[in-house]
């Protein structure tokens, strides 16, 4: 019985916080651009695989890709490479990861999402890798 009230209060708080974040945050496409090019493109290039231009996919394709959250054919996730843990692991050698080291995961993910949609083949401003 003693446990019920704190759990209820916690649920109320988490719900409120989650809603506030979702309501308040609008993706910053410029930050998404820097992260996408500075981390995603750089890594793809360094590993010898060809980088994926935002304009290589349509908005629907990017939305579906991000929603599925599968990277490298499902071996891992996209969100993992935007997450703080990953940024921390590469920030010594990657300036974009270092610059955005403290950005909440969901914000940075949203930044990348709006950049990709904007830069998609059928987006407002189709964008290349560089």
């Amino acid at each position: 019985m003693h446990l019920k009230f704190p759990m209820t209060l916690m649920a109320l708080m988490i719900g409120a916080t989650g809603m506030t974040t979702a309501q308040a945050y609008e993706g910053d496409w410029k930050r998404g651009r820097v992260y996408y090019r500075g981390v995603c493109t750089t890594c793809h290039t360094a590993q010898g695989s060809s980088p994926i231009s935002p304009n290589a996919r349509t908005m629907d394709e990017w939305s579906a890709y991000l929603k599925a959250d599968k990277h490298a054919g499902g071996k891992d996730t996209v969100s993992q490479y935007v997450g703080k843990a990953y940024r921390d692991s590469i920030k010594e050698s990657n300036k974009a990861a270092e610059k955005y080291a403290d950005v909440p995961d969901e914000e940075l993910m949203e930044d990348v999402r709006v950049f990709l949609l904007k830069g998609a083949k059928d987006g407002d401003s189709p964008a290349s890798c560089s």
């Binding site: 209820t8 649920a11 109320l12 719900g15 409120a16 809603m19 500075g38 300036k95 904007k118």
Partner: protein, 550 residues
């Protein structure tokens, strides 16, 4: 136990939702407590334009947006009206020349006469489609060109400075290429400070394409890394254009029409030197910018800075961001059609267009080492009506002045754009042809120079004989962007060598380059003699000491 689990499973999600619903009143209630939580605010602006009543409406045109902007920003349009960005005119107080895009010629698309609808896609106004544009109109000022933050605001060439609104528009007509309409309401509610993207929408694409004109400005500067530009590095200092081109009352300093070649004032100090150009290196770094633990090195480098613009060493090459720039344009070869009798385009191995039926031959370059000239800031343009003479030497579109001994000049890196363009061999003047457009007079449609030039010249009341010939021209573009990090600057040996970057520049003596055989021999003999003297002297001293001790 099961009941408890049921309650937990049923009510906990409900509490999540309830918490979310109650979130707003809960925050409002908190404001009455002694220590209210800080509310979420925008930190990059003092105003959230999404909340403005004037912007809660659909906008069907650019001027409608401007009208809403001006309700609060009452002085903005008046300020804009006084700027070069609006008038496209500049009266050079030094020589009285009336310059600006409205008056000058270049060796790219040549001039704006009768090409208004295309060129004015980069005017900060709406509707400039001919010479009768109303420059006194306030609602025709385009606020969004410089203050859009969504990156979705576009003004396609050929639409007289208007964005596409409402329905998609085929541009150019008949091409099958559709331009998406701009959501003006969304853009208007998200206006903000001017960014590199805003300036870049025009300045990166000068000359008709990415990187074409300037060489040191292209789309790679929208979010550059440190290697490309140490100041604009998006993960570092992240300068916007306005950080250096410090704007006041909408007037952007740092014009190429009257550049500062040698800044004598040093660092820009607040409250002093209001006339100082803030867009120079010295405005921040001063006139003795180098600091090294080795005093002699500091002194040597600062001595270099007395005669050489910072850009000479700190911009080793231009077009370094992966975007090629045009280095020459030969209009005289335009008009050749393909085997099928249609317009054709030829590309090089890298995909760059090197020939276009409508435009002639191009040479493009990237990672281009600049040419170097003495420059004192004085530039004189060859304007319409000025006499030109066809010869082996190119006609200067702009003539830069400078010499090693006028006390005002520095060595500057330049992009020299070379061209072959039409001129009137009878009147001996350059000409302003009507090139763009889908009408029968424009050269890109009819491929007839006489018609195109006659139309362009008539529009500006300039005489045209009806004869057309081609003349070599060149145009200077001082290089000042794409500043490399200090570890990538021009190495000493690139100038102090027989194949010096500064080869041919008059009035300089550079060890390693300006070597004179006899002088070198004499110098080495002197050094060798001094060394021998020291060795002999030392040997004598040591011998005498040993004898004394023995």
């Amino acid at each position: 136990m099961n009941t408890q689990r049921f309650r937990r499973r049923t009510f906990l999600p409900l509490f999540f939702i309830l918490g979310a619903i109650l979130q707003v009143p809960a925050t409002a209630g908190a404001a009455t407590t002694e220590a209210p939580p800080a509310k979420s605010v925008k930190m990059n602006s003092t105003a959230d334009h999404t909340k403005y009543e004037e912007l809660q409406q659909p906008f069907a045109s650019g001027p409608e947006v401007t009208k809403a902007c001006l309700k609060c920003h009452t002085e903005a349009a008046g300020q804009i009206h006084r700027t070069k960005h609006w008038t496209w005119e500049f009266l050079n107080p030094e020589n009285g020349q009336r310059l600006g895009k409205k008056n000058v010629l270049n060796n790219f698309c040549i001039a704006i006469s009768q090409n208004y609808s295309f060129c004015t896609g980069c005017h900060i106004g709406y509707g400039w489609k001919d010479k009768d544009f109303d420059f006194t109109s306030e609602v025709n000022v385009d606020c969004l060109a410089c203050h859009d933050t969504t990156g979705s605001y576009r003004k396609p060439a050929g639409n007289a400075g208007n964005p596409v609104v409402g329905e998609p528009m085929e541009m150019p007509p008949g091409s099958g290429k559709m331009v998406k309409p701009v959501d003006l309401t969304k853009v208007a509610r998200k206006v903000g400070k001017t960014s590199r993207d805003n300036c870049g929408n025009c300045h990166f694409y000068g000359g008709g394409g990415d990187g074409v004109k300037h060489g040191d400005m292209d789309s790679s500067l929208a979010a550059p890394d440190r290697e490309l530009d140490v100041h604009m590095d998006a993960t570092g200092l992240d300068f916007t254009c306005g950080t250096c081109h410090k704007t006041s009352s909408h007037d952007v300093p740092g014009s190429r029409y009257m550049p500062t070649a040698k800044e004598k004032h040093g660092a820009y100090i607040r409250g002093k030197g209001e006339k100082v150009n803030p867009a120079t290196c010295q405005a921040c770094h001063g006139n003795t910018p180098h600091k090294s633990p080795i005093l002699l090195k500091t002194a040597r480098m600062n001595t270099h800075a007395e005669k050489m613009a910072c850009q000479v060493c700190h911009i080793p090459a231009f077009a370094r961001g992966g975007v090629a720039t045009k280095m020459s344009w030969d209009w005289s070869t335009a008009g050749q059609k393909g085997a099928d009798g249609k317009h054709m385009v030829k590309k090089d191995a890298t995909g760059h267009v090197v020939y276009d039926t409508r435009k002639g031959d191009f040479v493009l370059g990237h990672d281009v080492v600049p040419e170097y000239r003495w420059f004192n800031g004085d530039i004189k343009y060859t304007l319409l009506g000025d006499k030109v003479e066809k010869s082996a030497n190119p006609t200067p579109i702009n003539r830069i002045d400078g010499s090693p001994d006028d006390g005002r000049s520095m060595i500057w890196p330049m992009k020299v754009m070379r061209g072959v363009q039409p001129f009137d061999p009878v009147n001996k003047t350059l000409v302003m042809p009507h090139v763009a457009g889908n009408d029968d007079l424009g050269y890109w449609k009819n491929l007839e120079w006489e018609k195109a030039i006659a139309d362009g010249m008539q529009n500006v009341n300039a005489p045209f004989s009806g004869k057309v010939d081609f003349i070599k021209t060149e145009m200077y573009w001082p290089i000042t962007h794409m500043v490399a990090p200090k570890e990538k600057v021009v190495a000493c040996a690139e100038c102090h060598a027989a194949d010096s970057r500064l080869k041919g520049l008059p009035g300089i003596y550079m060890p390693g380059y300006s070597a004179n055989g006899w002088l070198d021999i004499l110098g080495w003999l002197a050094a060798l003699t001094a060394l021998l003297g020291v060795l002999i002297h030392g040997a004598v001293r040591i011998t005498l000491s040993l004898r004394k001790a023995g």
